[in-house]
């Protein structure tokens, strides 16, 4: 039953925009310009302000090939993963509860909005005072900063489920599990992906700040040490590594999102804007 339609869908699918993006040289040109500018500027500035590209590359290689520094990178990523995973589970559950029960929404929505409004740095200070252990501090900051995003995205997605679809499902007299799996879960999934993408960047920034305050292992601790030694090459290396890790994780999430949400209509490729074509009047 599957094949003819799959073929038909493939035939009608829009132009492969992703492939076109790879052929687009603008990104390569941009990177090349930045590298050239960096190379030129580093010749006229001291190394503690802007080190040369080779010294940064050497430092990056050192980080990636040394066990203790590599452990710092993985520790930071592990902290991000642990914090985000806990915030995701708790936030999604709270979001669903708020969506399904008005009473829960009345009691939970105001405090969640309040928590979201508290500056992240305040949470770091609170965590330092409250928790003696570094891991607990980092975990607490991660959860408290990213949980509202998951909860509110899930809540909004739940509230946006079309009443028509609920009525349709209800007309078949479904059980709760079937209703959740066929209607609720697919409907909130796009919101959950959005929350992950937003919270990943936020989480990495937060874990770094939390690690700067009191951690001995992790990228934040390494950056603090580099700052105290005026080792700009290390600062840039760590920053670049973290940025690359974040981009890779974002890419992974987007890939998963495109697979899970493949039912969405693909946007048509935009025609290139060029000079107006003269029209003949006869």
């Amino acid at each position: 039953m599957a094949t003819p339609t799959a073929q038909a869908s493939a035939q009608t699918s829009p132009a492969p925009t992703a492939r076109r993006r790879y052929r687009d040289p603008s990104m390569l040109i941009l990177v090349a310009v930045l590298l050239v500018a960096w190379a030129v500027a580093s010749r006229f500035t001291p190394a503690y302000d802007l080190p040369s590209i080779p010294s940064v590359a050497q430092q990056t290689a050192h980080i990636l090939t040394t066990g203790s520094t590599l452990a710092s990178l993985f520790t930071t990523l592990l902290r991000v993963a642990a914090g985000l995973a806990c915030a995701f589970v708790a936030g999604t559950a709270i979001g669903l509860l708020m969506g399904a029960r008005d009473a829960a929404m009345r009691y939970l929505l105001p405090p969640i909005r309040f928590v979201q409004g508290i500056p992240s740095l305040s949470w770091v200070i609170v965590a330092v005072i409250w928790f003696p252990g570094v891991e607990t501090r980092v975990w607490f900051v991660m959860v408290v900063v990213t949980l509202p995003g998951f909860a509110l995205q899930t809540y909004d997605a739940y509230r946006a489920i079309p009443a028509d679809l609920r009525d349709m499902a209800r007309s078949f007299r479904p059980g709760r599990v079937a209703l959740f799996r066929e209607i609720t879960l697919p409907a909130i999934t796009p919101g959950i992906f959005t929350a992950w993408k937003v919270n990943l960047g936020l989480g990495i920034r937060m874990v770094l700040i939390a690690e700067l305050v009191g951690a001995t292992v992790g990228v934040g601790a390494q950056l603090l040490s580099a700052e105290q030694l005026f080792d700009m090459a290390s600062v840039i290396s760590w920053t670049l590594l973290l940025a690359v890790c974040m981009l890779a994780l974002q890419g992974g999430i987007e890939l998963l999102e495109s697979r899970v949400l493949r039912y969405r209509p693909q946007p048509e490729a935009q025609p290139r804007v060029g000079p107006a074509t003269p029209t003949s009047k006869g």
Binding site: M1, A8, A169
Partner: protein, 266 residues
């Protein structure tokens, strides 16, 4: 498939009233629909058709009076009607994240049909409705008529005794709507179902119904017409005038011109 005839009417309304805050949507509505009949409920916009539809389906409780479907209360005994009632709506209401065949599966999953029967039933009904080669298409890849066919397949696949349609063909173009109406009537008759079709089109009501219930605001039965099997065009015109007058007395007084689309009815 349950084929034995029951002694009671399939659907019965006894002095049913339904009020929303200050708005009276249904007033003293009384009618009966026999087993395996195809009945059209026709009326102007806002005359209480959809409220009556939701009352039949057990999605709303009556304010007073009695609604009986298969001699039971569809609202209080909501769960009993699982796999006994299926609905087809004006818009197809397909799940956008499921393909055509998965949408048919979803209906069966909601209705707790045994999983081992899903593939056979979905294949059968999508095939009958001419969608075997579009089974793996997502709703946005289907035309309006195809989407409505999928929603019909979803309803028939649970093998209900009663199928309720709420203006299910009115959003389609004339040609597609007519084809789908024809298919629906054939499927209901061939499979010995009781069918209730809510419509605002008198032509559609004549085409579909063995019986036409005419509603007048606020949700009151104005007429109950048995449609002859071979409806003569002249009789159809006469009935049409009668229904128009009952639906909206002002319209009848103005003597608006007859529409020719009844010629093919019956």
């Amino acid at each position: 498939m349950r084929t034995e005839a029951a002694a009671h009417p399939a659907i019965e309304f006894r002095n049913v009233n339904k009020t929303f805050a200050d708005h009276r949507a249904v007033h003293d509505l009384t009618f009966a629909i026999n087993q395996r009949e195809l009945v059209a409920v026709v009326g102007m916009t806002g005359c209480g058709k959809s409220t009556a539809f939701n009352l039949m389906a057990g999605l709303l409780p009556p304010t007073s009076g009695e609604v009986r479907v298969e001699a039971r209360d569809p609202y209080r005994e909501f769960g009993w009607f699982r796999r006994r009632i299926a609905m087809v709506f004006q818009d197809s209401r397909l799940l956008p994240w499921r393909t055509a065949v998965q949408n048919v599966y979803a209906g069966m999953k909601f209705a707790a049909v045994a999983k081992e029967e899903w593939a056979t039933r979905a294949g059968t009904w999508l095939g009958r409705l001419g969608l075997a080669d579009r089974a793996d298409a997502y709703p946005h890849e289907l035309s309006g008529g195809q989407r409505q066919r999928v929603s019909l397949a979803r309803a028939f696949a649970v093998d209900p005794d009663i199928i309720l349609c709420d203006e299910s063909f009115s959003a389609l173009d004339e040609v597609t709507g007519a084809a789908l109406r024809q298919e629906f009537v054939e499927l209901v008759r061939d499979n010995h179902k009781t069918g209730v079709v809510i419509t605002h089109s008198i032509s559609e009501a004549f085409f579909i119904g063995d019986q036409v219930l005419v509603l007048r605001p606020p949700g009151h039965l104005a007429d109950d017409i048995t449609v002859p099997a071979d409806l003569d065009p002249a009789v159809a015109d006469e009935l049409r005038e009668r229904i128009l007058a009952e639906m909206s007395p002002q319209t009848a007084e103005r003597g608006e011109p007859k529409q020719p689309d009844l010629q093919g009815a019956g």
